[in-house]
């Protein structure tokens, strides 16, 4: 067990922090699951933090000058470099405290990026920052496409999904590649804490965000972030779909603490993946064959995860 986590009891639904680093009144689409996830994560991490944001939905909707939705210091530089910027901030805070130029007090440095910013263009800077061991939290808000530029595919877009650059057509069924496993890439960096989370399980999400902030060194949090606009579902369905993603094993919830996998919510009787897919316009074109294929992929991935956690089904 990591020392810093020993005394952390976890949040309770009755006693949540009152302060919100990310205020309401931002410009996200109605029913956006991503901003909800971000808000919950930041609530858990708290006000003594500095947020570095990659370009993307969450940057645009929270920072249109002259307004800001941020109640904590916030910095945006570009699309692919949140982790590199955060490295600079974290290293600077450390040295400034050591030299007595600013008061000695732990500040949580949090970098956030969408799946495009994380799995694609920013993977190098994320890898560099994790490898160098900066004490920061990286949060990937995974809405499975480039939403800010109008729903283009990313390497985190699931197999079969329709996006504006992976359209189904006479010779295509949508996204033809499997989703990149970024948490596994993070684990491969031997960092102390990696976890997946979902806004449907908000206490679990908040606990993980807090744990990520508490551990010394890099922590990586991969948060499922439904996007009604890009996924083509009703604005009231973000939580329902997020829940289904877990219940179908499409998005399992787990932690990897110092390399050890722990499945937080073991689904003994998973619902069929079709239930999840059918709720979203982005999978509307899928044939039964493709749905069966996706089911097999989900089962296989879950098997792998069980093995990593030393468990059986």
């Amino acid at each position: 067990m990591i020392k810093e986590l020993e005394n952390f009891k976890g949040f309770s639904a009755k006693k949540l922090p009152l302060a919100d680093p990310l205020a309401s009144g931002h410009r996200a689409c109605q029913g956006c699951g991503e901003v909800l996830a971000l808000k919950l994560a930041m609530k858990a991490i708290g006000m003594n933090s500095i947020v570095v944001s990659a370009t993307g939905c969450m940057e645009i909707i929270t920072s249109t000058f002259p307004q800001t939705a941020w109640n904590v210091p916030w910095l945006h530089v570009a699309f692919e470099n949140a982790a590199a910027v955060a490295s600079g901030t974290e290293a600077a805070l450390k040295v400034l405290m050591r030299k007595g130029k600013i008061p000695q007090k732990h500040i949580d440095v949090v970098a956030i990026g969408g799946d495009g910013a994380t799995a694609d263009i920013g993977l190098q800077s994320l890898s560099g920052a994790m490898e160098r061991g900066h004490d920061f939290v990286y949060i990937c808000l995974d809405n499975e496409a480039y939403m800010n530029t109008g729903v283009q595919r990313s390497s985190s877009t699931p197999y079969g999904a329709m996006t504006t650059t992976s359209p189904p057509g006479k010779k295509s069924f949508g996204q033809a590649t499997k989703k990149k496993n970024v948490p596994a890439i993070a684990v491969a960096h031997n960092i102390p804490y990696v976890a997946t989370a979902s806004p449907a399980y908000f206490l679990d999400l908040m606990n993980k965000a807090k744990k990520a902030a508490l551990v010394k060194g890099p922590a990586y949090l991969h948060i499922y972030s439904s996007c009604p606009t890009g996924w083509r579902h009703g604005g009231d369905l973000a939580i329902e779909i997020s829940k289904l993603a877990v219940e179908t094993n499409v998005f399992p919830l787990y932690e990897v603490i110092e390399g050890k996998y722990i499945i937080n919510r073991k689904i003994t009787k998973p619902k069929p993946v079709a239930e999840y897919l059918k709720k979203q316009g982005r999978f509307r074109h899928l044939t039964d064959d493709l749905i069966a294929q996706i089911q097999r992929q989900v089962d296989e991935e879950y098997e792998k995860l069980l093995k990593l956690a030393g468990e059986t089904a």
């Binding site: 920072s63 249109t64 600077a92």
Partner: protein
């Protein structure tokens, strides 16, 4: 007390950074800049300098890291060259927009392709519009002095802009010269500790790098441009004070034997020393030639430049970078633009020389000057001319 010692110019640059007591150095190797960050890594490793040394995974991240660091209120340094500078390109615009006083040394080197590790100015001339203050050094002493000057100017509360000190790769970075290294107490007299006005601090939150809607973007750009233009006053003042303290006075442009000159050569960086040798030789032969070189490149020191060339009818501008398919090289372009509205403006002839490490010799300068004299009588056919091209 200051010591005059034989030292590699790269090491002198890093010694200046050490004396500036920087808080964070972001480092990524690229020839011919490497010795600078290597030496800094040693002084940090030996405890001679208490700084964070962040060996990032790319130059893009180096500049990103510098922005994160400077925004947190740390005195921040990095160095690069060529492809590294090009990789930073996207991020370079953002530092001045956020008014972050980062200092960077660029050991100038050609850009690919073909790949070349040798010196010219095509890397920095591709970064004309980034709103950084830019100076060019002629020799090792200037490199050392300009680095200290860079921090002093960048962090001045009236400026708050990043600064690039340019020095020629290899021809300057790797030579050993006698250089007067100031001691810490002397540097402290010149360079006060950096006290940021705004920084990322949870006790007083600010949002930086926000979305600039059309209603505000133009104003934001104008503000940065004005800051850059107005920085010249501080640039000059900081040079004056440097001179008063240490006896070495610097100007935005330097003139050499311009009295009575009919043709003036315009140069930048270390080739100016060869140009002066060429001018001495031509003057001995009775040719009325002089030299003007830029030390301050951005903000463009138009009044000082105009004064330096006043009364001369012919300028021979030597560019160390090509602007393919354009009207002329980048330095000539700037000069032509600056002079266009002047009454009785001189003729500007543009020569591209010394690309990718090709030596620019005394003979090359003689050729350039003699061509400029010819063109003054008979217009050249081409818009610009490349010097020293070997016929195969």
């Amino acid at each position: 007390m200051a010591k005059r010692i034989g030292m590699e110019v790269s090491i002198a640059a890093s010694e200046a950074v050490k004396l500036a007591d920087v808080d964070l150095i972001a480092a990524y190797p690229i020839t011919p800049q490497t010795h600078i960050v290597e030496h800094l890594s040693e002084v940090v490793a030996d405890g001679e300098l208490d700084a964070a040394f962040v060996p990032v995974e790319s130059e893009h991240s180096a500049m990103s890291c510098c922005i994160g660091s400077s925004a947190a209120g740390a005195r921040t340094f990095t160095a690069t060259s060529s492809q590294g500078l090009a990789l930073m390109h996207e991020i370079l615009f953002i530092a001045p927009a956020m008014r972050l006083p980062i200092v960077m040394v660029v050991a100038n080197r050609a850009l690919s392709g073909p790949i070349s590790i040798w010196n010219d100015h095509s890397d920095i001339m591709s970064e004309q519009d980034i709103a950084w203050i830019q100076t060019f050094a002629e020799n090792g002493q200037e490199v050392f002095d300009l680095v200290l000057h860079a921090f002093r100017v960048a962090e001045d509360s009236k400026v708050l802009l990043p600064v690039i000190v340019n020095l020629d790769g290899f021809t300057l970075s790797h030579v050993i010269e006698p250089i007067e290294i100031l001691d810490k107490a002397e540097v402290d007299k010149y360079l006060p500790p950096y006290k940021p006005k705004v920084r990322l601090d949870p006790r007083k939150p600010v949002s930086m790098g926000m979305v600039g809607i059309p209603e505000i973007y133009t104003e934001a750009k104008k503000a940065t441009d004005e800051a850059l233009i107005n920085s010249k006053k501080v640039v000059l003042k900081a040079w004056k004070e440097f001179g008063d303290l240490f006896g070495r006075y610097y100007n935005p442009v330097e003139s050499y034997k311009t009295e009575g000159a009919e043709v003036i050569l315009i140069t930048m960086g270390s080739i100016s020393e060869t140009a002066m040798t060429a001018i001495d030789k031509m003057r001995e032969k009775g040719m009325p030639v002089g030299l003007v070189r830029f030390r301050l490149w951005k903000p463009f020191p138009a009044p000082e430049f105009k004064k330096a060339i006043a009364g001369v009818q012919t300028l021979a501008v030597v560019d160390r970078a090509l602007s393919p398919g354009g009207a002329c090289g980048p330095v000539a372009e700037e000069i032509k633009a600056a002079l266009y509205a002047e009454r009785g403006r001189p003729k500007v002839y543009n020569f591209i020389a010394g690309l990718g490490g090709r030596d620019v010799t005394v003979e090359n300068f003689e050729e350039i000057v003699s061509k400029a004299f010819t063109y003054a009588k008979k217009r050249p056919k081409q818009l610009y001319e490349m010097i020293g091209v070997r016929e195969i």
